[in-house]
């Protein structure tokens, strides 16, 4: 039961620096939404506001609303820790916990939040690894360190870890940028599968990837260097790549940018 995300009038600041300005959008449940745009346009920053990960940095704050299933993530009384249990995240570089085994990595979200029932953990680990298309590769060595896997496997391990806590939404911040083409393909297949169960939001540098995996695409850009990033255009992926409304989007997609 994936959830719809509705964002309205969102501004993101780091101290006095306005990083992202006035973003409004609706992200459909059980679909893949991709954000594309040039480096530094604020798309990653914006992605992090969807599970309040940006608050890890002191001085970061937002204005505006992010509604997840009608509930404002920034309402008073909302705990960012609780938000992150509902909105999971996968990062640019695979980051399995180096001190933990494959099993413990996948189980970490539950274990660290107090689940001790071994039977339940075993079930969840298998289900999550199957869900992350990794089960067949690691089922015989669940007690090996997570870092012993290849880069692409590590990233799928991280995805398994994220889905093990049964979130509603999964955010992916350039999940393939550190991977080779074959591993990238495996992750893309996986994203296709994940959208049956989750709302997936992915930031990518790779336009072909956005075109391949996403249903909706949002294009971010800066008005000028030093100015905040903005959402220029958002729509069905097909439409954005074949018939964009904005000149800037077209320039970017056709490579005439900059």
């Amino acid at each position: 039961m994936a959830k719809r995300i509705e964002v309205s009038g969102l501004n993101v600041y780091y101290g006095d620096f306005k990083a992202v300005e006035d973003v409004s959008m609706t992200i459909e449940p059980r679909s893949v939404t991709a954000f594309i745009g040039p480096s530094g346009c604020g798309k990653s920053t914006y992605l992090r506001t969807l599970n309040r990960m940006h608050e890890v940095l002191p001085g970061a704050r937002v204005e505006g609303k992010v509604l997840l299933d009608q509930q404002d993530l920034y309402a008073s009384g909302v705990d960012p820790v609780a938000v992150r249990r509902v909105v999971g995240m996968v990062f640019q570089r695979p980051n399995p916990f180096p001190t933990m085994t494959i099993f413990d990595n996948v189980a970490s979200g539950l274990k660290l939040n107090g689940v001790k029932d071994r039977k339940k953990l075993t079930e969840v680990v298998e289900k999550s690894l199957v869900g992350a298309n990794l089960w067949n590769e690691v089922k015989d060595r669940l007690d090996k360190p997570g870092a012993s896997l290849s880069g692409g496997q590590q990233q799928r391990l991280c995805i398994a870890r994220a889905i093990a806590v049964e979130p509603e939404v999964i955010l992916m911040d350039e999940p393939c940028s550190a991977l080779d083409p074959i591993s990238t393909l495996a992750i893309e297949d996986l994203i296709e599968k994940l959208k049956d169960r989750f709302t997936v939001v992915i930031v990518t540098h790779n336009m072909q990837q956005a075109a391949r995996v996403s249903d909706q695409t949002g294009f971010f850009n800066l008005a000028a260097t030093g100015k905040p990033g903005r959402l220029i255009e958002m729509g069905a992926t097909k439409q954005i790549f074949s018939n964009p409304t904005e000149k800037a989007t077209e320039d970017y997609i056709t490579g005439r940018f900059g």
Partner: protein, 350 residues
């Protein structure tokens, strides 16, 4: 709103339940954060207490002192009225430590260069560890070895300098053949602070940007020219602050100095020569621990300890300041890191 949710996959029931986003219990967070903050605060308290308590116990004795505390060389805290001053202690402490630094720093720089740029790769790490081991030798062993085995071979050096430069008061040749002199203590102190100065210099030299080094080599510089034009200028402030830290160590060293230095006879005239005996702050205090029988006498030694604390404080602060001012790596405080950085570098890349 739930029209799109109508066809939930079988394994996840469409429960329509509200998400739980309320507080998840932060007792652990509060406790843990409190303990961490408390420990940080405790460190500040400890240092403040060291200063405050030493001062509080020194003041009554200082108030009754009949001599000039800073400028007198007399040390009779047990007399009535008590008379004590730190001039002689201050002199011996400072001169022994400065000589130690002067001897140690060039050698430490040499050793640091050797391990970073001369020793074969496979040898560099064991060599560095061997020098680090010097720091692991307890100071009482330095003292014993220093006075029993090392001091005798310094005798000719002392005689030589004494004959050549004896007309300068601080090099004046002493009447006795005693080797428990300031100079001996200085050389042993130099060996003791060598690993500290070496370790810091080594780290700084190793950080010289490859671009600087290769830039020099690409211009046809020899290895030495590369070091002189790229490595040494880059590491200069680091070496200076390493020297200051070494000086701080030497100023406070107790037992080695206590064992090596002969305490001059109370009736002898004061001798400024580094080839005579003497007492430093630390050795004086340790030597007279048995005299701490009345608060007044103890107060005099605590006053001396306070001066040592202040001097080492100043020397160490100077060292830190030099590092902070010109740290090659840049220890500048950064308010916005990671994503902020990423945003900035990405912005610059545009």
């Amino acid at each position: 709103m739930s029209s799109t949710d109508g066809t939930a996959p079988p394994d996840r029931p469409a429960d329509g339940k509200k998400l739980e986003l309320g507080p998840v219990g932060h007792l652990g967070d509060r406790l843990f954060s409190g303990m961490a903050h408390g420990s940080g605060g405790l460190v500040i308290l400890i240092v403040a207490f060291v200063g405050i308590f030493l001062l509080a116990l020194a003041i009554p004795s200082l108030a009754r002192n009949e001599s000039s505390f800073l400028f007198s060389r007399v040390w009779e805290p047990g007399a009535s009225p008590p008379r004590f001053g730190i001039a002689a202690l201050f002199y011996t402490t400072l001169i022994s430590s400065i000589i130690a630094m002067v001897i140690a720093v060039p050698i430490a720089v040499g050793v640091a260069l050797f391990t970073t740029y001369y020793a074969p790769k496979r040898l560099a790490a064991p060599v560095a560890h061997a020098i680090d081991l010097l720091a692991a030798v307890p100071s009482i062993i330095y003292g014993l070895w220093g006075i029993l085995f090392f001091a005798p071979i310094l005798r000719p050096v002392i005689n030589g300098i004494g004959s050549a430069l004896g007309w300068i008061p601080i090099f004046e040749k002493p009447p006795t053949a005693d080797v428990g002199v300031v100079f001996t203590a200085s050389v042993v102190l130099a060996i003791m602070i060598l690993p500290v100065v070496t370790a810091i210099s080594r780290e700084i030299f190793a950080q010289t940007p490859i671009a600087h080094r290769e830039g020099a080599l690409a211009l046809g510089a020899t290895r030495w020219e590369m070091i002189r034009t790229a490595v040494l200028p880059y590491g200069r402030s680091g070496v200076v602050s390493a020297s200051m830290l070494g000086l701080g160590r030497a100023l406070g060293e107790t037992v080695a100095v206590l064992i090596i230095l002969s305490v001059p006879n109370a009736n002898d005239p004061w001798n400024s020569s580094i080839f005579a005996g003497g007492e430093t702050f630390a050795s004086k205090i340790a030597n007279n621990a048995a005299e701490f029988d009345s608060p007044e006498k103890t107060g005099a030694y605590i006053a001396a300890g306070l001066v040592l604390f202040v001097v080492t404080f100043l020397v160490n602060s100077a060292a830190r300041l030099i590092v902070a001012r010109s740290a090659p790596g840049g220890k500048r405080p950064r308010k916005i890191r990671r994503i902020g950085d990423k945003a900035q570098t990405e912005g610059a890349a545009l």
